[in-house]
Symmetry: C2
Subunit: 492 residues, 2 copies
């Protein structure tokens, strides 16, 4: 869930300064139109890791927007008035009316997360609280509100560097308290809880936008741009699916930095090492699946990737290691009539392995948020809700001790072209493949954006995505096999 | 939640026999149209108390419908195949395709309820399971399914009588096991759990229909009629709000029996007794509110009822007992501009009392499911979702140790007319009141249906409705005061 947010998103001062005037004007314009129309209220949540710039972002928005029509709700202990009433009372009284913007810095998420981190509440209790939040936000959206939730993220290293740099400067040294370092120590636990919270509350009607808080320029521009885009969409298309703001990616790449492009596709492995490792890993996988404890486990391995990325070859290297009675490969093509008459997840539920078995999906339920999204085969509202339905589906498998391993095989468009041509030369319809290829290339960017969204919204702590650099097929096969072995070992 | 279902709904054999042929024909017609259109699947759940006729109902439906296009899923322990997979797998594989009907007798509700009853899971765990169910059902509806959930209810006395009558008959004696009597002993606990489950899962998209299972004729006709009505609505109005089936009342009064009409409005109290009890109860209420432990409690008293039912007089008898600093009476009129710019519950949240205080609502948030529903002031989808939003709101108050007491003051239409005329004689615009009165009278039935739905959907174990026979004002005032004292005492 934080994959994209952990990339280096820095934007230099010059670019920042050049972009700010237009952004500020667009923000003020949108705010003016909102106030004139009085059609809906805007609820903005600024949450995230300590030190990721939550306060600075709130201050900035107050500076950029017309503050007369913005109400900011700062955190802090509840007042005497508030303590005597149900916890949500303080938020209800601060809701913005139609036409105005309410910024919540320290929102309804703060207390449930803090109580869980302090060990006061078990996971089931946290989930109860999250469920109430989900119902509250759904009510807000049903009542017309535009709900924008930002999570400002810092990697562990970024948080450490920030504390160190504050300490190094005599002017800011006082800002670093022992409490800050104590919080830093529980970073990993907080990270896990945050991921759980985001997964449970990233709904179709009010999804989270997760972004890096490390660079102030990137952070500020991104939050501003997302707000403008979401506002304009609601203001300019009043009859559209108003509750969705799905043109917005899960992690906005406002500076062009996105996760697929950061992969090092030059990674290679020599022939000799490939042969050795292949043999060792296939043997290891075979032993794992025959392990007595595997009788109560199962594996679901999902393979996605561009055309010609080498999914088939990688799958064969996995199945070669397995007894034919143990595994099944499910090829996902266009749905049959029988499948079309059912909810879209139905055909994948059919193939969920029983204990002791392995099911390999050559393409999968992710088709809904990839090809169906990009090609327009299903409406936006449907693929948007699919993210959380998919997370629910995978959670049920994991709860049932199924290891869910998901692989995205990445190649460059140039390599794809080369492989298509190679196929064309050995096949007999070269011209046809080139046609398809050009069409693919036109949509390459749209697919890339859909893949990044998929990773950010469905790479969860329980079922993470593994991005596989597949320009070198042998490197990809080894990475797949090793990851699969490790994932099974973790759970055995 | 079981108020209406506990009434005597018996339908005699003759009426039953007269109605069945038309109903069966309508069912088969609807089923045929469904199959021809192949537009959506129908998922029917038959749940409820043991002995309320779940199995009989399923058999009956299979007899009445064309069984070739109905798939029935009987309960029973999961098979070997099913045990090796996530618990929901067995239900996914049994989902009906578009155009067909799937009957689930023993559904996804069975295991969570049973595990909780056996003490294996705490409330928070049960809530987690219910939340998953809610998401599953929402997905089904989003994917186009018509989901009809029936809960067959028996009162404790009805269940006892049934067991006794089975035992009395030598032919059926063997059917009563010690397990049945053991289940009967935990009736009260099961009742509480069932109420919780229904409250948590009666959503706008898939609400429960709760009905009495005591009389087979009523039960069969009602289930059949509800299915026909829901099917026809989806088939005949394909562009309507297809996920709602809100023309259907929470507890169908297919035999004309409904809760408001069962009240004994002749209840009276003499003047002397009234004076004595009034004095005693007002003193008792005053002491309760001054009790040291009340400093951590609060009271929300809601008064609803027909025009001229005597709400004002009853409220005055309550406030007379209280120190002016402690209470506030909120008159609910049409919303102001400021209130209209917010979610509809916002203006009531504003008035939630702090600890140690009492707020009396003269009309309330129930306006949304009464006047706004009947007069068409808000769309069906909005008032339909209001039931669960209201339950959430009241749950938050109760969780915060606020006693929520809700009173419906009931009078007959004749008494209302008399009171209007009386007012007209003492006032100066008699003709005007008579106009209004006639308009009211025309909508009396619609209001009555809305009130019954409100009671069945929002009278919960934590915030029950008290129905007050208000034909005699003095009787009503005493009942209100006594109930209020008892509710506070329970919670102090």
């Amino acid at each position: 869930m934080f994959e994209s947010a952990e990339l280096d998103h820095a934007i230099d001062k010059k670019t920042f300064k050049a972009q700010v005037p237009a952004l500020r004007e667009a923000l003020l314009d949108a705010q003016f139109d909102l106030l004139q129309s009085r059609r809906f209220p805007v609820v903005i949540l600024i949450s995230g890791v300590d030190g990721a710039g939550k306060g600075e972002t709130v201050n900035l928005l107050n500076g950029w927007l017309d503050p007369r029509d913005v109400e900011t709700n700062a955190p802090g202990d509840p007042s005497d008035e508030e303590r005597g009433r149900p916890p949500m009372w303080r938020f209800w009284r601060s809701l913005p009316p139609k036409g105005k913007i309410g910024i919540f810095f320290g929102s309804w998420y703060s207390a449930p997360i803090a109580e869980h981190m302090e060990g006061e509440t078990k996971l089931a209790k946290l989930d109860q609280a999250l469920e109430r939040i989900r119902r509250f936000e759904r009510m807000l959206v049903d009542e017309g509100a535009l709900v924008l939730k930002f999570w400002l993220h810092l990697s562990k290293e970024q948080q450490r560097l920030r504390l160190k740099s504050l300490e190094a400067n005599p002017k800011t040294r006082w800002r670093v308290t022992t409490r800050d370092w104590r919080n830093f120590k529980i970073y990993d636990r907080f990270h896990g809880v945050a991921e759980h919270v985001l997964r449970q509350t990233s709904t179709a009607e009010a999804p989270w936008t997760v972004l890096s808080g490390a660079d102030p320029n990137y952070r500020s521009l991104t939050v501003g741009k997302v707000i403008v885009e979401a506002l304009r969409r609601r203001l300019d298309f009043p009859d559209g699916p108003c509750n969705l703001r799905t043109v917005l990616p899960a992690t906005p790449a406002t500076n062009g930095v996105q996760i697929l492009r950061t992969l090092d596709l030059t990674k290679k492995i020599g022939k000799k090492r490939y042969q050795d490792e292949l043999e060792e890993l296939q043997g290891r996988l075979n032993l794992l699946v025959r392990h007595p404890r595997f009788a109560k486990r199962a594996v679901v391995a999902v393979f996605e990737g561009s055309d010609a990325a080498g999914k088939g070859g990688a799958i064969r290297r996995v199945t070669q290691a397995l007894d034919a009675k143990v595994y099944r490969v499910v090829q996902t093509a266009a749905p049959t009539d029988e499948e079309r008459a059912q909810p879209y997840l139905w055909r994948f539920w059919r193939s969920v392995p029983r204990v002791g078995r392995v099911t390999v999906f050559d393409r999968s339920w992710y088709g809904r948020v990839l090809v169906e999204r990009v090609e327009g085969f299903c409406p936006e509202a449907d693929w948007m809700r699919a993210y959380s339905e998919i997370n629910d589906f995978e959670e049920q498998m994991v709860d049932n001790r199924i290891v869910v391993a998901k692989f995205w095989l990445a190649i460059s468009p140039e390599e794809q072209l080369r492989r298509f041509q190679e196929r064309g030369e050995t096949g007999f319809k070269r011209f046809k493949i080139t046609d398809e290829d050009w069409r693919n290339r036109e949509k390459w960017d749209a697919y890339e954006a859909a893949v990044c969204d998929m990773i950010d919204r469905t790479s969860t702590e329980i079922a993470p995505w593994t991005l596989v650099e597949a320009e070198d097929k042998q490197y990809a096969r080894i990475k797949v096999l090793r990851t699969l072995c490790e994932r099974i070992e973790e759970r055995l």
